[in-house]
Symmetry: C2
DNA sequence: CCTACTTTTGACCAAATGGTTAAACTACAT
DNA sequence: ATGTAGTTTAACCATTTGGTCAAAAGTAGG
């Protein structure tokens, strides 16, 4: 029983912490609010995670891993480049749509603890060089236009992430502040971003 | 004399507030730190701006206006679309490079006070519809590929802003955490983003 | 020099906040 | 039953924080 109980409350805490931290950010979040959201006593937070910082870092890690992972799947697949890119963009936008606040949160807190972030990236299995290498090879094969492969990857990430991270502003500017029609717009981007990118780089 | 002195300290406060708020965010910033940075007494902050919120809003407004303005210049110019887009992208990346923390800051605090943001946009003279209209006309003329004009504008903004807003992360991932070589990369993007966009939409 | 004013300051306050501690509770093994 | 280990809680604490206030300092005109 002991272990089950422990895991249970630890999960409750982490989940509550995610909600609160994502809404309020590291500095804006209150330990009391997290405790309330988890339905437990505040001292218990410190029992499981010693300090606010540690709780925050644990939270950040779990969120960060959610948004990052599937870059690598693109590299390992053996489809032709066009299909690789298509499924990558589509999947990625899909993941972001299901967690629309996470990109904002990550951007917000990127500066908080640089060493921790570096550590996190190292241990996350992310290997951007691999992706860059793959693009290089395709360029040598002549399937896509020659350019700095880092530009290509960063462009794709920009097109995927930014419109979601800045949703409140863009929805206000272009969609009458209606989140629903903005999300429909993002849904359509699964197609339009693919077209935009492929039109730019594909050699026919 | 009265007015000059007043403007002076008010400016000092605003400038100090910008530094601190941009570094620490709304919640992380301390009134005392802002006062120190401005070299004045903390009570004076409340004398000029009644509350932290008001000081923050004033700060946000002044920063927001810095990054937003030159969208409209693109519309009003009478160059052909290709040149319009080229100079827009180049100018915009240039502005962002000179204020690399501002995009992060705006993204961070976009959620803080939605009504205030809406007010701000209204009074800022921003008219995204105008830009959208312009793109539509060009598509009808057949100079650029047909697509949702909002997509086009948002794509360009994404490609310009995101790489700067997420500098700390991207520099860590692709540039050995060396800010200098990352900024050189951004400088090169003045050219490569133009190519990327024009390649995608221009009809030759 | 005096007066009316604005600007600036130091001292102060109540509330909030992250964190601690000692006691109570739980479940299991002996 | 009793002891023991981990878990949970209420009460508490030191510090920080945004904000106030009355008095001092500065300023300009009469």
């Amino acid at each position: 029983m002991t272990d089950i109980k422990k895991d249970n409350t630890e999960e409750k805490i982490l989940s509550a912490a995610q909600n609160v931290f994502v809404r309020k950010g590291m500095d804006g979040a209150r330990m009391q609010e997290i405790a309330d959201e988890a339905g437990i006593n505040k001292a218990l937070l410190h029992y499981y995670f010693r300090s606010k910082r540690q709780l925050f870092n644990a939270t950040f890690e779990s969120i960060f891993c959610k948004i990052i992972p599937n870059v690598m799947r693109m590299v390992e697949s053996d489809q032709p480049i066009k299909e690789k890119l298509e499924s990558f963009i589509e999947n990625y936008i899909d993941v972001l749509m299901k967690n629309p606040f996470l990109p904002t949160f990550v951007l917000k807190e990127i500066n908080q603890d640089p060493e921790f972030l570096a550590e996190l990236i190292k241990s996350s299995g992310l290997q951007p060089q691999k992706v860059v290498e793959m693009f290089k090879i395709e360029m040598e094969k002549g399937t896509i236009r020659t350019m700095d492969p880092r530009d290509l990857l960063i462009n794709i990430l920009s097109l995927n992430i930014f419109p979601i991270a800045s949703q409140p502003l863009l929805a206000l500017l272009f969609f009458d502040d209606d989140p629903k029609s903005y999300m429909e717009f993002i849904e359509r981007r699964k197609v339009t971003v693919k077209e935009f990118v492929l039109n730019s780089i594909l050699i026919k």
